[in-house]
């Protein structure tokens, strides 16, 4: 793009050691509904330009979306960076030449999201829902990242689908995502609606929840939420800050042997797929936990130097972060897991996860959309008003089994784009309101 080229040329003549320009441009459509009727239909047509410059260990970052002012930027940055203190932990940006010939040019499939939102709603209403709320997003754009060493442009985008169905005071929710290489069908949207209604009505009789330790089958949404909120603990920046329970645990067991957790940005059937990170390092599939053993943190080029390792291709604007987490599936189906459970809970969803102790991963989260009691292999009743009050290290060490089925889940700010199975976790601490 001409304006980006012009800015790069000016910055490269301004005495900076390293430069990153990241220009994103795209369109987002959203149809949102509640009470089974459309609330709004919105379109975002946006572009933005991120600028990162360094001189020695002095760094500076700028984001603008008004490209008409780019000619004023170099002088401003020169003036500012000379007054910056050094960041002693900064070690430069990714400096190897990447192969940009592998960039996909496939366009996102065109889908009528108004029509598909009705398909979801009808799927819910035909299966017992009294009303439903949710949305569909269609996101499509291009990212151009230019550094001293590389210049690549690649497509981004996908779909997000969300529906929550209600019957009396009961609710069930489904939230999924699909990427550039996805193959969505009408039946996929109908199924989301049907499943959300079914999950709301698995059992409608309530009994009082009980405090204490109990086995829990966590749905893909529950384990997805816990791992989304825990993903920062895997970031090298959190470890450096002293706010991660994973500090000094590389190559040590941090979870049960049933747990293999990977970050997979190369799966473009999900919306978390991404070809290059924010400093133009190629992304890659990273095994974070391998059969219970912690293998790596999320690293950028700069943080990796502090750990005497290599970048994992996870550089973000502020800190290295995950792109698309996947927890491995197991042998048995969810129905078999429930059938063999003597006494435990089957929890459908959770939200509002908050930590009281980052160094030990102590947190609580509030289950919603169905908390079912399983007795002798049967769902017998549902609870309400309980909370999972435990720690992430305990949860990871207590995962006994994961289901054969996995689902692509992404929900609002609560679950990042992930692919998760059901997970049986032993002796989860439950508390309740009095």
């Amino acid at each position: 793009m001409e304006v980006v080229d012009r800015l790069y040329e000016k910055l490269s003549r301004s005495g900076f050691d390293e430069i990153i320009l990241s220009h994103s441009q795209g369109s987002v459509r959203q149809v949102r509904f509640s009470g089974s009727r459309k609330d709004m239909d919105a379109e975002w047509d946006e572009s933005s330009l991120g600028v990162f410059v360094s001189r020695g260990k002095r760094i500076l970052a700028l984001v603008i979306n008004d490209l008409s002012v780019v000619d004023t930027i170099p002088e401003k940055l020169v003036s500012m960076i000379s007054r910056m203190p050094e960041n002693p932990l900064f070690n430069g940006i990714y400096d190897r030449k990447v192969n940009s010939s592998s960039v996909s040019t496939r366009r996102l499939p065109e889908i009528d999201i108004v029509d598909k939102s009705m398909t979801m709603i009808n799927g819910a209403m035909d299966n017992g829902a009294e009303k439903s709320a949710g949305l569909i997003y269609r996101k499509e754009g291009t990212e151009n990242i230019r550094t001293n060493y590389n210049d690549v442009e690649f497509p981004s985008g996908g779909y997000e689908m969300l529906i929550r169905s209600f019957r009396n005071s009961d609710s069930g929710q489904e939230a999924s995502h699909a990427g550039m290489l996805s193959d969505l069908h009408d039946s996929d949207f109908a199924k989301l609606g049907e499943d959300s209604a079914r999950n709301a009505t698995l059992k409608t009789n309530y009994s009082d929840g009980v405090e204490g330790k109990i086995d829990v089958i966590m749905s893909p949404y529950v384990i997805g939420n816990v791992l989304t909120y825990s993903s920062e603990f895997f970031s090298a920046e959190s470890v450096i800050s002293g706010l991660s329970f994973l500090q000094d645990r590389i190559e040590q067991p941090v979870a049960s042997e049933s747990v293999t957790l990977i970050d997979d940005p190369l799966d473009f059937t999900g919306i978390g797929g991404r070809m290059f990170d924010d400093e133009c390092a190629p992304t890659r599939k990273n095994t974070m936990i391998d059969h219970g053993v912690l293998r790596t943190y999320f690293q950028s080029f700069s943080t990796s130097k502090n750990f005497k390792t290599e970048t994992t291709g996870n550089a973000g604007i502020l800190m290295p972060n995950s792109w698309q987490l996947k927890l491995n599936g197991g042998e048995r189906k969810i129905d078999e897991m429930i059938a063999s459970m003597k006494r435990g809970l089957f929890i459908q969803n959770t939200w509002y996860t908050r930590f009281q102790d980052y160094r030990n991963g102590v947190f609580s989260t509030v289950p919603r959309d169905g908390i079912y009691l399983v007795e002798n292999g049967e769902i017998t009743t549902r609870w309400k008003g309980i909370r999972i009050s435990d720690s992430v290290p305990n949860i990871l060490k207590s995962i006994r089994e994961t289901s054969r089925e996995t689902s692509k889940v992404k929900w609002w700010q609560e679950i990042a784009a992930t692919e998760m199975p059901y997970a049986l976790v032993n002796d989860v601490n439950i508390t309740k309101a009095f």
Binding site: Q30, A42, V63, M80, T353, S364
Partner: protein, 460 residues
């Protein structure tokens, strides 16, 4: 800019039953300091236009394009979509023309980088001296300009600076760890920076962490409790402010932040004792959530959400007010130019009473005083909530005793508000960033209250 907005509005007006256009630009700066070392400086300049079209349904366009042909093309698409069926009720209100500005003698633009870094360095050093092992300090500031116009003749321009500050501190002792997060904010320039009293708060916070880490928990049971202003503030926000947002009550947030325990009730509905009232007030000068007009051009005003234990008024934007059949009350806020204005809080607080803190404590035989909190959360209908104490003390026979570690209140909204028997005359505020909407919008708020006494609460 006004000429451009006029052209857009004129184009939309011929194609809709109602339309509004909002231009917003902001300049933001953020600088961080971690464990004695400078981390980085980030700055952003963002601007764009939000256009709402109402016909058979509501459609939006958000664009930062300056090309009028492109904007008209986007509007044409939005008009087509708005002619398809959906909800379309919106309160028109009255036409208003106004300009407002928060004056400042030291705008963020006048603040040097060196001065910003000096603030962070000084607070980091203070934390270290007091014994904090982990220290992250972040200073942010912004100046925002907004121009709202609609097809019934309103035109409102506003400009305001905001300053925010946050820190995370951690203390380690014999293998144990205690942490604290705090946030401060004002809608003002740097001349008022010291009113946030960050140094005093840091000093108290680190001292209490060092006490708590060597303390024991309380034996679970039923106690009388005094909660401090930081907790009464988060209580007011979470279990009064959120459930009285009328878009939640009618289910518009059903798949995200959720509905409300007040959905389907007959109003006014009794939530708590006569002793407790909660106010939302965007007009409080220099508060973090201050604004004179909301992002839909409605003048802001103070309102009771709960009054003597009963629901009184709800939080509305133009859309939710039309659905209930009332006038909008100036609560339509958007966090940025590319977000829709939805019903939001501003400064939400429990109204002070007549007692002193000492009188509240003297009235307790066997209980505790929980001054501040760490972890908290609440369910999606805003009924089942939890607050974990950070600084807390035992009360025996009306006197404060030993420090306690992490006492937990896990209760319901009606139980909590129903247990209030006395409220102190103090009033303190904390800053926060309130999340809601999809895409998620974080808006600046204050949360506040006095010391509040609760009878017969289960504490674990």
């Amino acid at each position: 800019m006004e000429e451009m907005l006029d052209s857009i509005l004129d184009y939309c007006g011929k194609r809709s039953s109602f339309a509004d256009v909002r231009f917003m630009s902001s300049e933001e700066n953020g600088v961080s300091y971690r464990n004695g070392e400078f981390q980085g400086f980030q700055t952003s300049r963002n601007s764009g236009i939000a256009i709402r079209i109402v016909n058979r349904s509501v459609s939006y366009v958000f664009t930062n394009s300056g090309d009028m042909e492109e904007i008209f093309r986007l509007i044409d698409g939005a008009v087509d979509r708005s002619n398809k069926p959906g909800k379309n009720r919106i309160s028109l209100g009255k036409d208003t023309r106004a300009k407002w500005k928060v004056p400042s003698s030291k705008f963020p633009l006048d603040m040097s980088i060196d001065d910003r870094i000096d603030i962070l360095k000084s607070n980091d050093e203070q934390m270290k001296t007091l014994g904090a092992d982990i220290r992250i300090n972040v200073l942010s500031d912004s100046i925002t300009h907004e121009h709202y116009m609609n097809t019934i003749g309103s035109s409102i321009e506003g400009e305001y600076p905001r300053i925010g500050y946050s820190y995370v501190a951690g203390v380690m002792d014999s293998g144990n760890f205690e942490q604290s997060s705090a946030q401060f904010g004002i809608t003002a320039g740097y001349e008022d920076f010291k009113t946030m009293n960050i140094e005093d708060k840091v000093a108290g916070d680190i001292k209490s962490l060092k006490n708590a880490i060597r303390s024991r928990g309380i034996k679970p049971g039923v106690y009388d409790v005094v909660i401090g202003p930081e907790i009464s503030g988060i209580v007011a926000h979470e279990s009064c402010g959120h459930p009285t947002e009328y878009d939640r009550i009618i289910g518009r947030e059903g798949a995200q932040a959720g509905e409300s325990f007040l959905s389907g009730k007959t109003y006014p509905y009794r939530v708590g004792s006569d002793s407790v009232s909660v106010i939302d007030d965007p007009t409080m000068p220099k508060s973090y959530g201050f604004y004179r007009y909301d992002d839909e051009g409605i003048e802001s005003r103070k309102k009771y959400l709960y009054h003597h234990g009963m629901t009184e008024e709800f939080i509305h934007n133009r859309e939710s007010a039309a659905i209930l059949g009332v006038e909008p009350n100036g609560c339509g806020r958007s966090s940025d130019w590319d977000m829709e204005p939805i019903p939001r809080m501003s400064t939400t607080y429990i109204e002070p009473g007549e007692f002193t803190l000492e009188e509240l404590i003297e009235g307790i035989k066997d209980g505790l005083y929980i001054v501040s909190y760490t972890e908290w959360n609440i369910d999606d209908i805003r009924y089942n909530e939890k607050y974990v104490g950070k600084e807390a003390y035992r009360i025996t026979n009306g006197k404060l005793g030993d420090s306690l570690r992490r006492p937990v209140i896990e209760t319901t909204t009606t139980k909590l508000y129903g247990s209030v028997d006395a409220v102190s005359r103090d009033l303190e505020f904390s800053a926060g960033t309130c999340g809601k909407g999809d895409p998620e919008q974080g808006v600046d708020v204050w949360m506040g209250g006095p010391n509040v006494r609760l009878r017969n609460m289960y504490i674990s």
